[in-house]
Point group: C2
Chain length 193, copies 2
Amino acid sequence: MGTRDRIVAAAEQVINELGLARATTREIARAAGCSEALLYKHFSRKEDLFHAVLLERMPALTPAVARLSGQVGVATVAENLEEFARAAIAFYRRSLPLSSGLLAEASLLTGFRAMLAETGGGPHLPILLLGAYLREEQKIGRVDADADPDSAAALLLGACHHRSVLGSLVDLGPDDAVAPGLVATLIAGLAPR
Amino acid sequence: MGTRDRIVAAAEQVINELGLARATTREIARAAGCSEALLYKHFSRKEDLFHAVLLERMPALTPAVARLSGQVGVATVAENLEEFARAAIAFYRRSLPLSSGLLAEASLLTGFRAMLAETGGGPHLPILLLGAYLREEQKIGRVDADADPDSAAALLLGACHHRSVLGSLVDLGPDDAVAPGLVATLIAGLAPR
C-alpha cells in the first residue's frame, strides 16, 4: 500500500473510532505512520481527504451502479432494483460516521459543499444514475411510459439511506429484509386497480 | 419562558452554532443564563436534553402526523401525502445538525440508542404512523387492497429525509418542488399498464 492509500485507510479508521469532528490531520497522520507535512502533500484540503475516503474506501455503490447499467432488459426490473437496494443500504451504513460528521458541523459542511460545487460531484449522483437505468428500462417497455424515473430513484435510494440511519438508532431487524417490500411497492404503486 | 424551556432553546441554538460534538452542558448553560447544576436538575442525562430539543423545538412532524389521521377520506390521498411530505422535509432540514451530530459520534450514538430502546421512541415512528394512515385509506378503497402501506411510508419518508441531506450538500432548487413527483410516482407505481 502506497503512502496515499495508507493515509486514506487511516482516515477512515480514525473517523470511525473518534468521529469526524475529532479526526484531525494529526491523528490521521499518526495512524498512517507519516508526518502531517506528507499528508498535506497528498491532500492539501481536509475535504479532499474525506472525499477520497468516501469514494475509495466505501465503494459499494459505484460497482452497484455500474452493474445496473448492464442489467437493462436482463433478469427482472424488481430483481435488479432489489440487488441495488441491498448494496445501497450497505454503502450508506458504512459511510454514516463520515457523512453524518460532515453534516453535523457547519464549518465542515461549508467546505465540503464548496468542494462538491467545484467538482460537480455529490450524493445526488446515484439517484441520477438509478434514474438513467429506469429510463432505459422504460424505453424497452419494462417500466411504464408515464412513470417518472427520477422520482422513483429518489424514493428507493431515499428509503435505503433512511434505513441506514434508522437501523443505527433502533433495532429494526436485518436490513436485507426490507428491500423486496420497498421494490414491490415502488413497482406496483398505491392506486386502486 | 421557564428555566427548562430556556435550556432546551439554548441547546438548539448551541447545537446549530457549534455542532453537537461541541455543545457541552457548560456552553448550553451559559447560553441559557443558568448554572450547569440547574441544567442537570432538569436533564440528568445529555441524551434527555437532546431528545427534548428534537421533540419540542422541531415540532413540524408531530402536527403533520396528527393532521394526517384526520384526513382519511378527505381531500385526495395525493394531496394529503404532498402536504405531509413538505412538512417532513422541513422537519428533517431543521433537525439535521442535531440528528447528524448524534450519528457522527460513537459515544453519543450509543447513549441515544439506549435511551430510545428504554423509552420505545425513535425516528421510525413517523413511518409507522404514515403507514397507519395509508392502512385506513386502504380500508375505504382509496389505496389498493394489495398495497403495502409500511413500505410505501418508508419510501416517502425516506425520500424526504434524504432530500434534507442532499439539499444541505448540493444546490438542488426548492425542496417543495419535489413533493408532487414523489407522491405521484408512489401512487402510480412503475409497472407497465
